[in-house]
């Protein structure tokens, strides 16, 4: 008794290749590993003096950002340029939306400029699915963050970073600390960790920041920080938006840091070789103190660097699945 759905929103084609990259949820383990392996091959390119490969030469990629972003947009731009694509950066908060143009009209106008791929960030959950449902069949859509729903490339660069330090996902205990309720990053990470076979994923936050039915995502909700991070291999912290104090989610940053902020002292219970991650930007003294952020277990800057290779992988794989082999990439 289900209602009709739009097949254009399918992110995988009949051969199992990536057409769009909208969400981690529902993707196969092999595909995620394929993205990680492809990213690994690009990681070398990123370190070379001549940092370009010609895979997407002649392709036009539009970075369509309805929300402010620095790291994500910049790494997408770098990734596209290193694949030799032409890049349009469109910051909608300051253009069409303020003139009342609808999302669909903005899209149609850009399509008319022969854009081959949209990289989209939008504050509505489901916006990437919506766009995928309305673009021309040859166009790919990559979700760079939609509302609280998904941020799949961030999750994949986190998986990439984890794998570089901890090659066997099936032997890991992972803790996610912070605002799960508002976090698209957390949702995508949780799906990715589950699909890659991580046996134990724990989360912790005050109950106001744990969404209803969180256990159904495949995580264990812990009562306090110590229970959550004890003996783990990976600690992922989430960004806390300052405006959460207004919505009665939290009383103060001070109390949050006291209970959930990472310090060297609190981290004594994690495994000695554990890594500490954060999607950035960090609020020092809120999510963690500087000793942790800049400490030897922190891989936060690696995450940023790895973002380029992972985004190159996703972009090239999406284009390669298109008719005529996209820009000639082997994916």
């Amino acid at each position: 008794m289900s209602t009709s759905q739009n097949p254009r929103q399918n992110q995988v084609d009949e051969q199992g290749a990536l057409r769009h990259f909208l969400t981690i949820e529902g993707l196969k383990r092999e595909l995620l590993l394929d993205i990680l392996d492809t990213a690994e091959s690009f990681a070398g390119v990123t370190a070379q003096t001549v940092k370009k490969v010609p895979l997407l030469r002649g392709k036009t990629i539009a970075n369509l950002f309805f929300e402010v972003s620095t790291r994500t947009r910049t790494t997408f731009e770098l990734a596209a340029k290193r694949l030799s694509a032409d890049v349009l950066n469109i910051n909608i908060t300051s253009s069409s939306a303020s003139k009342g143009e609808s999302l669909l009209d903005t899209l149609r106008n850009l399509e008319a400029m022969y854009v081959d791929m949209f990289v989209v960030r939008h504050n509505d959950s489901g916006s990437a699915h919506f766009i995928a449902g309305h673009v021309a069949p040859h166009v790919s859509v990559i979700n760079a963050g939609d509302g609280r729903h998904a941020h799949p490339t961030q999750a994949m660069l986190d998986m990439f970073t984890i794998r570089r330090h901890k090659p066997d996902f099936t032997a890991l205990k992972v803790a996610i600390v912070g605002d799960i309720y508002h976090s698209r990053v957390a949702r995508s990470q949780i799906h990715a960790l589950n699909i890659l076979g991580v046996p134990e994923i724990r989360v912790v936050a005050p109950r106001t920041l744990i969404p209803g039915g969180a256990e159904n995502l495949g995580v264990h909700v812990c009562a306090d920080l110590n229970e959550c991070i004890e003996d783990v291999d990976v600690v992922i912290t989430l960004r806390l938006q300052r405006e959460r104090m207004q919505g009665a989610f939290l009383p103060s940053e001070h109390e949050y840091f006291h209970l959930y902020g990472l310090t060297e002292e609190k981290l004594e219970c994690i495994k000695p070789d554990a890594i500490v991650m954060h999607p950035g930007p960090i609020n020092r003294g809120v999510e963690m103190d500087s000793a942790v952020a800049d400490g030897e277990r922190s891989v936060i800057l690696e995450q940023v660097t790895n973002g380029i290779a992972v985004r190159m992988a996703v972009m090239s794989m999406c284009m390669a699945s298109r008719a005529d082999g996209g820009g000639g990439g082997e994916g």
């Binding site: 289900s2 759905q5 959950s125 489901g126 699915h129 919506f130 939609d146 039915g213």
Partner: protein, 427 residues
């Protein structure tokens, strides 16, 4: 115009009739059932031997978008859709633009409906000015202008004191209050049932408590003020249980459910299907089953369409930014009949939920086929199968998640005050 509907199975729940006989109509009224009155010579005899003849349907909740939103639909377009669906009486909520808080708006609606001549409209008036929950509307004047009930729909009152006074004032004039239970504080910004699916989709949830909280609060004030109250558009099993308990304790309250809530659940918004964006939201399987139980046990007496036609653009956006609502007049009968095939109601009770029961909620002598009463009649073929598609929809709103569904039960004739306002164009 004298008409004889010949040889149909007549189902008239209010009069406990279910037998094959003729229905004779003259001067806009039911002249007789069974044998024709002496000297009755019909101008037209309609063979309905394959069909069921029943009272024209009364829909407790349909937005017609006029005045204010003629780009979505008009009274003319939607009453035509109603006629094609066997619906002869429509109760419309007061959130028109301008809000139906003055006799002038009510008169405008009545005049436009009379010009269209396809269905009766019984408007509900806004209980507070502009639905702002602050100052009372001129409720006595609204009643005089023809309002059947008053409501603040889903808008909050500025204080419990204002709510209490509004209920007391309405009770003075014997007007019913339609309560759409939704605590706006808990529901704020939400677009989906709070739970695992909403969490996975990253949508802002509307918890079940937004409904039960409002039901609990309203029950207390209803009890204190003695107002005649009807709970509209229930979406949760627990709210149905609370209403059941209050009825058991002797509170004379009634309730309805939108037809889509009996079929769709939170699973249907998967992949951000904006056609399933409704408020109150589609909830869990358990809620859908609980609403069906409430219907079977008579706790919920009526099924309504909760018709909300939209222009295409209203649904062409990411899910949270789309407008809620389903264009639903034309699925009211087939979905109600599916309650029979699904074993929830027998045929007579199913028809009652969209005819005699809503009439009784409204306190009007309608929704029956008693001799001498106005001849609002629906004739439908219960076996006729059809597929809902954009070409068959009469409503200006094509926004329905039921497109493509195989439906059973199709209206062949609708009579409004004895006058055919719809006949199925066959072949």
């Amino acid at each position: 115009m004298k008409i004889t509907l010949q040889g149909g199975r007549v189902i008239d729940p209010a009069n406990k009739i279910d037998e094959r006989m003729d229905v004779h109509v003259a001067a806009g009224q039911i002249a007789a059932l069974g044998n024709a009155p002496d000297g009755f010579t019909p101008n037209r005899i309609i063979d309905v031997s394959e069909q069921i003849v029943c009272p024209g349907f009364i829909d407790l909740g349909a937005r017609l978008r006029e005045p204010g939103d003629r780009h979505k639909a008009t009274i003319a377009s939607e009453t035509a859709a109603a006629a094609s669906a066997g619906i002869t009486t429509l109760i419309c909520p007061p959130d028109t633009n301008p809000v139906a808080d003055t006799p002038a708006v009510i008169e405008l609606i009545h005049t436009t409906a009379e010009q269209a001549g396809m269905a009766r409209i019984l408007p509900t008036g806004a209980i507070t000015q502009g639905l702002k929950g602050e100052q009372l509307s001129e409720i006595a004047a609204l009643k005089e202008a023809g309002c059947i009930a008053v409501s603040n729909i889903m808008q909050p009152y500025s204080s419990t004191q204002v709510q209490r006074r509004a209920f007391e004032y309405a009770a003075t004039f014997g007007l019913s209050i339609f309560i759409h239970p939704l605590d706006q504080g808990l529901a704020a910004g939400g677009c989906a049932h709070e739970g695992a699916i909403c969490t996975r989709m990253g949508l802002t949830g509307i918890p079940e408590a937004a409904e039960t909280m409002a039901v609990a609060r309203n029950l207390v004030i209803i009890e204190q003020t003695g107002v005649r109250a009807h709970f509209a558009r229930l979406s949760s099993a627990r709210a149905a249980q609370m209403i059941s308990r209050a009825r058991y304790d002797g509170l004379p309250i009634t309730a309805d459910v939108a037809a889509h809530q009996l079929f769709l659940t939170e699973h249907d918004i998967w992949q951000f299907n904006s056609e399933c964006h409704v408020i109150p939201p589609l909830r869990s399987d358990r809620d859908r089953d609980g609403l069906r139980d409430g219907l079977a046990q008579g706790v919920i007496q009526c099924i309504c369409s909760d018709h909300q036609p939209h222009e295409a653009d209203a649904k062409l956006a990411p899910f949270p930014s789309t407008e809620p609502g389903i264009s639903a007049l034309e699925t009211l009968l087939p979905l109600t009949l599916r309650m029979v095939t699904d074993g929830v109601l027998d045929l007579g009770d199913a028809i009652a939920t969209i005819s005699s029961q809503p009439a009784s909620v409204l306190g009007i002598d309608s929704g029956n086929l008693s001799a001498g009463n106005v001849a609002d009649i629906c004739v439908f073929d219960p076996e006729r199968e059809w597929i809902l598609d954009e070409d068959t929809l009469v409503s200006h709103g094509l926004n329905t998640p039921f497109l493509g569904w195989h439906l059973k039960g199709r209206v062949t004739h609708t009579l409004l005050a004895g006058r055919p306002v719809y006949e199925l164009n066959d072949d």
